[in-house]
Symmetry: C2
Subunit: 466 residues, 2 copies
């Protein structure tokens, strides 16, 4: 694992004279170094094997679960084994939602009851294991609820069925345009007396796989069950409602919140030699939903981040700035880890010059996007995009816009927030489903993502962002 | 299928005033038109359904086979059904290689015979169904044969085992750096009296799936069997040879050339209204290897090309230049179709201003590459890259270098040869194996490839290349 690639051995000859030699220009030296990062990542890296372990042996990592805590312990040890300067666990209290009995949904057709492919939304309450029946009313927009009013919606099962827009090139934009139905549908429908909510799954794919994901209730509002159904069943239900306006559904689920639990972020650090107070962070979130191994969401991002450290250490890189690798806890249904990390960082008067999150899967990287506090953004963006010339040989492009949920709370520190942009086309086929497993991850694609992140860390560390 | 997307209906209002109106600049009009192409391709296209039929119902399309001829007839009819100006079949004689009995390879270990995962190379002879045994000698480079000489190689089974270089970012470059072992290994080893050749499969993946592909004998040279073994078995065999230098293998295969057959390219045309003598071609190759449905290689390219025509017709586009859609026959083991197409085109004094081939799979498109006859290349390249601004919203980038095997013979006409560049990471995991089937194709990724090609055809048709 730590053997040195022949190409890098050649490179090592030049390192002592970087910056002073007329043999190799500074730009050429950077290009050569990035090439050595890729050579390592594509031949010696362990990110795929680690992801296999995380998603298959440990498995799904619902916040508050035993698996999630096993993942904390395992990644702590893996980072320690790399020989970083320090590794620690950061305590944080997290919500502990439990899917005790998966949701069932039957639509009561004139020809008999037909079961739909369903899964309870994360953080949702259930029916306490009892059958609840109600008339179904199809709604496309949250805004439409007000017009329908309590007179129409009381005791109804509201069925949100607005598809993700397939004409968006970036599936994330299509997701962003539809996910309000899942995240806020149950809370909003509850305001008008609805009994429960069914939501069309968040994917452009037409298939029979339901997608879970978080729903957020009003703080002191009524809570009603939220259940996702597959897109094919959503199409079927919509057609059935056109034929029979007064259809009812019978739902049953047992799920809900237990007591908050103590959990952890895992943080590893390599101390910077010249500017130790400027932190460059790489990270992903260690928790996942419970339906699968969470290989793409976000095992990939965590293993990318560990690989950044492994590669830099293996090729003997000594950073000028302090590098942090963070496994955030509870991105999916609370963001407790991301908030806690920023809170402690602010208390310690730290400054994150850059934070890079990978949370869009382990597919071929297309580049990075970035954002920052408005008053500091412009010069950062210019410097960031000036790095592109070093990355175009690897088919990477640097764009405005992007970041990550876990690093979002660091925005107030005034550093640059950066998101890895993997190819987005397959992500929402798998997102929050039983299919988000290692068999959907391509080893080379995963390694290329780690190499891209490592290269960007190198460039920021070498040249700063001012 | 031909219903008009609402977005496009809006667009239609502007079309009569394109170029003259002050409401919409020419560039904006082009951008809007490309948006309408994407809207159609992502909501109304049939390329995935067609690819399903081609690769699953028709199946593998080895040149000269009944399946290949069924594919000719079916694509002819599909193109006719689109309502193009004309469709015709172009006769060409093609080689008819037959895999009568798949190869078996046993390595005779001290502990007993162990079977390796093997497949005969395309165009290879077999052992006429008899067991042939010989001592195995591992070789990494064709160049090494001369040094070993006939004294060492006579009656040996030469085992070419140089891996594809995993550090190449573009897997095509890694393939290009290793494929001489498969394409020329048997011919070269035969010159030194070898009995047969085993070749490590052409993939960076370590798995148990052998990859076929063409081998080319010397015109009047000795022919010896060429058999690919899986990469895992190549690793195993190499290790076994280190432990036991004098290992033998026993091979058996029945395959070889039958009489040439009559086959066809399929050509469809939409006649240009202003410059009918400037042809813009889109195409792929209809033949495939016989081990799978040939979904990525090159069903995807053929269905991309038909989709270009379907989308342009569906949105009512009237080209200025003549558009051709070509299903080339016999790219895999002879290129008879590509050569015949260029021969007939030259006889008719035609000029292909641009030819765009899709033959690298149905994965997310990253852009296009181009090449041309040296004396005309520079101005073409500048004009080509000036189109990039219209395509960056779709994450497409335009580069120097590229084309396609089938369109290669058109180079002498002095037009621009263009290759679609899909994401290359997964292609050689599947290439020429039993796994190149529709389940490895993502519908959106395929549609995005078709939309990219359609957009480029539109841009070249509108603005030319001068």
């Amino acid at each position: 694992m730590n053997s040195i690639h022949p190409y890098f051995k050649f490179l090592l000859l030049f390192i002592p004279i970087f910056g002073t030699s007329s043999l190799v220009s500074q730009d050429d030296a950077h290009a050569l170094y990035i090439r050595s990062i890729y050579d390592h990542a594509l031949t010696e890296s362990n990110c795929y094997q680690r992801l296999f372990h995380l998603s298959e042996s440990i498995g799904g990592r619902l916040t508050g679960s035993e698996n999630a805590q096993n993942a904390v312990d395992w990644t702590f040890q893996e980072l320690k084994n790399l020989g970083v300067d320090s590794v620690w666990k950061q305590e944080c209290m997290v919500p502990h939602w439990q899917r005790r009995k998966e949701a069932t949904v039957f639509v009561n057709l004139p020809s008999g009851a037909k079961e739909l492919q369903a899964t309870s939304l994360g953080n949702s309450i259930g029916t306490e294991g009892m059958d609840w029946s109600g008339e179904i009313i199809e709604v496309l927009h949250l805004d439409s609820l007000e017009g329908l009013g309590e007179s129409t919606l009381k005791d109804k099962i509201v069925f949100f069925n607005r598809p993700m827009d397939p004409t968006k090139i970036h599936t994330g934009h299509a997701y962003g345009g539809a996910v309000d139905q899942r995240s806020r549908g149950p809370a909003m429908a509850a305001r008008f007396g609805a009994k429960a909510v069914l939501v069309r799954s968040m994917t452009t794919l037409l298939d029979d796989v339901p997608h879970t994901g978080v729903t957020v209730y009003d703080e002191d509002g009524r809570k009603i069950p939220g259940i996702a159904i597959s897109t094919l069943d959503a199409e079927f239900l919509s057609k059935s409602l056109k034929a029979n306006a007064k259809l009812t559904a019978t739902i049953n689920a047992d799920c809900g919140m237990a007591e908050d639990k103590l959990s952890h972020n895992v943080v590893a650090e390599i101390r910077g030699s010249e500017y130790p107070d400027e932190i460059i962070l790489v990270g992903g979130h260690l928790d996942s939903w419970d339906l699968a191994g969470g290989a793409h969401d976000d095992g990939a991002g965590c293993m990318h981040s560990i690989q950044v450290f492994e590669t830099l250490l293996a090729i003997g890189y000594k950073p000028k700035r302090t590098l942090r690798c963070v496994m955030f806890m509870n991105e999916e249904n609370g963001l407790a880890g991301g908030k806690k990390y920023a809170e402690l960082s602010n208390q310690a008067n730290e400054f994150h010059l850059a934070a890079i999150e990978s949370d869009l899967g382990g597919f071929t990287p297309r580049g990075f996007g970035c954002s920052a506090r408005e008053d500091v953004y412009k010069p950062y963006l210019a410097k960031f995009q000036a790095f592109e010339k070093f990355l175009t040989p690897y088919d990477l492009h640097l764009k405005a816009g992007g970041g990550g949920a876990d690093i979002g709370p660091l925005k107030s520190q005034g550093g640059l927030l950066i998101g890895l942009r993997p190819d987005p086309q397959r992500y929402f086929d798998l997102h929050h489903t039983k299919n988000d497993n290692i068999d959907q991850v391509n080893k080379r694609e995963l390694e290329l993502g780690a190499a891209a992140m490592t290269s960007l860390v190198y460039l920021i560390d070498q040249m700063g962002l001012k």
